[in-house]
Symmetry: D2
């Protein structure tokens, strides 16, 4: 097998059965472009905050899941990869529509992966939030690290 990364189906399964918040939000893996991942949260009234827009924590959770998916899609089942840092700028209010996260790996080191994520709201041209973050990667088996 050439590719060691997980497939869309594998990642969808992990997100839907292992991570409660992703489950609760109904996160869908839309695709795995090279060095990236596209995830979606279907709009639901249960995700809004005062003012009627999808809440910040939903956006952060989706962005975090998208970085995780991009790394799994590239490296395979590094299930124990953990977020080291996440930074989000909220830009424009999302509309009452699905939220899309477009994650891209900027650096894949031995110990740390750095990603950026653009969040969009279906039907709006502007980015609704910009995220960057790093994931700490577990040492490979047998490496003694």
């Amino acid at each position: 097998m050439d590719k060691k990364g997980l497939s869309v189906e594998d990642i969808q399964h992990l997100l839907s059965h292992g991570i409660p918040m992703s489950e609760g939000m109904g996160v869908i893996v839309d695709g795995l472009p090279e060095d990236g991942a596209v995830l979606r949260v279907p709009y639901s009234d249960s995700l809004v905050r005062p003012g009627g827009t999808i809440s910040g924590p939903v956006m952060m959770a989706l962005a975090d899941a998208a970085m995780y998916a991009a790394i799994l899609g590239r490296l395979g089942a590094v299930i124990m990869a953990v977020t080291a840092n996440l930074n989000i700028h909220f830009l424009h209010r999302p509309g009452k529509s699905d939220l899309i996260a477009n994650a891209k790996i900027l650096k894949l080191g031995k110990r740390l992966a750095v990603c950026e994520v653009a969040l969009y709201s279906i039907g709006q041209p502007e980015m609704v939030a910009q995220v960057s973050g790093s994931y700490s990667l577990p040492p490979e088996e047998g490496s003694g690290g």
Copy 2:
């Protein structure tokens, strides 16, 4: 009345009835020290991620709620205050116990409030995550801003 900030009860009501993710996590307002807020998420198996610890998005949601509570506790019902930016460093894995957020306002300007939040896991001495962030404050009524 001297104090224009909201009370613990008011903020608890807002978090429990207006913000779905806080509701779902069962966020509790433990107190409102000066220029700050202490919030808690009771431990629940429904909040864990692969590896058995409380997930990052739960920590981010709690930190965001704690900054919001600190601002409401100081300024009153600025319900439309919105997170402009949030940065989190994950430090140590939380245990299977309640998660505590200790938020403190670092700056309260006319347009922007900046806070830092220390997250702890009951029974562990080390901080589990360090958060900083800013909230954009709506213009006061009548200010035309």
Copy 3:
């Protein structure tokens, strides 16, 4: 005049005569694409850190200057715009060559502008650092803000 933004020459003058650190680094304004700015620091042995690469503070200073230039290029002489927040991820070591900052405005609100900046080292394909940040914008004259 249609465009209220400053020109490349105006911004170059400001950076070279008003901001000591930019002066010291010899920052050059390479261009002002729409909603953005491209700045450059010519390589110099006086900018390196242990290990022989351009130091982190030089990269942060260049990124900050690039965000400032993008905002001046769009809004005009808002000289008192001040950085509210800056977040940088260092990705790959820059080489012994000029450092380029490509800044883009993600949001231009009344009070806050949010930008992202990609830093490159001439001759290397990978981004050397990823920056995002926000600038606080002074109230317009006569707005009473």
Copy 4:
């Protein structure tokens, strides 16, 4: 020798002779409290930005140096430790006086150290900037990492 960390004098020497920007700013190591470091930049007119206050890049450079000093003071001569990420919130304008950075190590892992830094301006009670960041630590010799 019990302590493997570097001394104030060792770190002062490194900052004054190896890091051009620190040299140019005249950074002084004031002390090495446990798990931390206190650094100072003497006020100089050559460090100001339009508006007459010490520029943001000077604050970022000082905060970065303070994190580096805290790590060297704890771990010894890990000269190749490199900044992975730095996040700064600018809070209040510093005065025309020395700038102080108070850095504290929040986490010291095998691969990553996370610090926070509070910046103060002598004579002002409020924090002028809040910084958090992570340093990537080189593998120990012989560890094969």
